[in-house]
Subunit: 285 residues, 2 copies
């Protein structure tokens, strides 16, 4: 018996115009739904350019509130189209407290909640520690009409802990809205090495946890960063079942969530964990 | 400045004759040392066939004590050759308590201690829960003349937790003595999928933790299992720097441990962990 769910990943270019970025993404969600997608996920911070390349107080004006207009409109769209929408946005909780956040709406339009990015990078061209407070609500899974959806965001992808914690909550699929690319001084060899490592980590989350993983990256040149796209979906044993290139695209993948049970019977890793021996992971001595 | 260490992985066939298996491995350690290896690691349970394919009480006679003859001889060999030896053996602690264990001897012959396999499989052809008590001493790093050596064993490879815990203790390199292969009903497509997943997990440990990883597998047909060899070494960003095929071989790799510092500056994942949010990994609610 199969339990096939069609997911769509929106891999797009962004401009300086927040309204047109938002309109384009909404239009792509419509297109994805027309093509049969049941769960749609946006790239990280889809409303804007990747504004973390430098420090600029004005950029805080780009943020949205989690009970604001964007979340309301996403709910209306989800309801109209009957699709689950995972959306990444710059969240203002209050003056001085901003998060890198994802929202999840169910296919009936109901707002299931948010996930706030737990691991925040701070590297040349990626000044996220300036803009974002580290997530304060932990790891989450959202029970939707089409399956249990885990959401993590970009830098989280390098941490096996966050994938595991989300999978242990029962996620069928982990979505990773992402903004990753190369700097001007990084050549094609370096880019290939970065991409390989990035893909390896995502596939390893699928394998170690026996679930689907979807990575959604943006494309295009923005200031000093060339975003490489390459969005993909991995099945529960690391098999890449759909992969985009470096052009704007809506990437579709059919995910049979019943493969999760099959995978975990053949390779029963979760059976053999030794949680009582993992205390040092939490900083305990 | 480089800090190059030459490691050697012994990928061998085994027979029913424990003495000749042991002699062959000792001879290969000599050959590796003559070729300049500074750290040598054996395959899992190198003294014997992979005896866990069925339940047989007599197999417990194959075990060695950690203060016994094997450990003494390994120490003498390490001292004579001036090499660090990581060795995997079937350990008898006392009547009824057996472990799947690895020993580490420093280049001056001193016995640095043992690691007891923490994650124990139990699958068709791999009845390890019958033979081995799960490790009772946790994750370890051994400070040797040539670097800090972490040891994990086979099934441990599927658990990001054990790689992380060992890396957090300062390991420059994680050795995984291994016995992995395919059953008669598993064709070349399945084998390729298994091997890909196996390699992905090892590379992910290197990437997530910014250290070297060495996987040492046996080769040959033993009863129903065809062991696939394919031993390899990964640099700290998942780059495979040496890889064997499916023949008996001593695989050499030059590991520049100073790359670890470089890697962790470029990709500072360890800086951004959120240990205080990982409590559910330990089974806490």
């Amino acid at each position: 018996m199969s339990k096939k769910v069609k997911v769509a990943l929106l891999q797009l270019e962004a401009t300086e115009n927040k309204t047109s970025n938002t309109d384009k993404t909404f239009q792509c969600i419509r297109e994805a739904a027309e093509n049969g997608a049941q769960i749609v996920c946006t790239q990280e911070l889809f409303q804007t350019l990747y504004f973390c390349q430098n420090h600029n107080e004005d950029h805080f004006d780009l943020a949205e509130e989690s009970d604001g207009d964007l979340i309301k409109k996403l709910g209306e769209l989800a309801k109209e189209l009957g699709v689950v929408i995972v959306s990444s946005f710059f969240e203002k909780k209050m003056a001085g407290v901003y998060f890198n956040t994802a929202s999840v709406h169910d296919a009936d339009g109901s707002f299931l909640g948010i996930y706030r990015k737990m691991h925040i990078p701070e590297d040349p061209g990626f000044h996220e520690k300036y803009y974002f407070t580290p997530g304060d609500e932990g790891y989450k899974v959202f029970k939707t009409k089409y399956g249990k959806v885990g959401v993590l965001i970009c830098w989280d992808q390098w941490f096996p802990e966050s994938a595991r914690l989300t999978a242990l909550k029962g996620a069928d699929i982990l979505f990773y809205p992402t903004a990753i690319g190369v700097l001007p001084n990084e050549d094609d060899t370096v880019k290939r090495e970065f991409m390989d490592a990035w893909e390896t980590m995502h596939k390893s989350h699928a394998i170690a946890n026996g679930c689907f993983v979807a990575a959604i990256n943006r494309v295009g040149q923005e200031g000093g960063i060339r975003f490489w796209g390459d969005s993909f979906v991995s099945a529960p044993f690391g098999q890449v079942i759909a992969q985009a290139g470096d052009e704007e695209t809506i990437l579709y993948a059919e995910c049979d969530f019943n493969l999760i049970e099959k995978q975990r019977r053949t390779w029963p890793f979760l059976r053999d964990r030794r949680p009582e021996t993992y205390k040092a992971l939490t900083g305990e001595k």
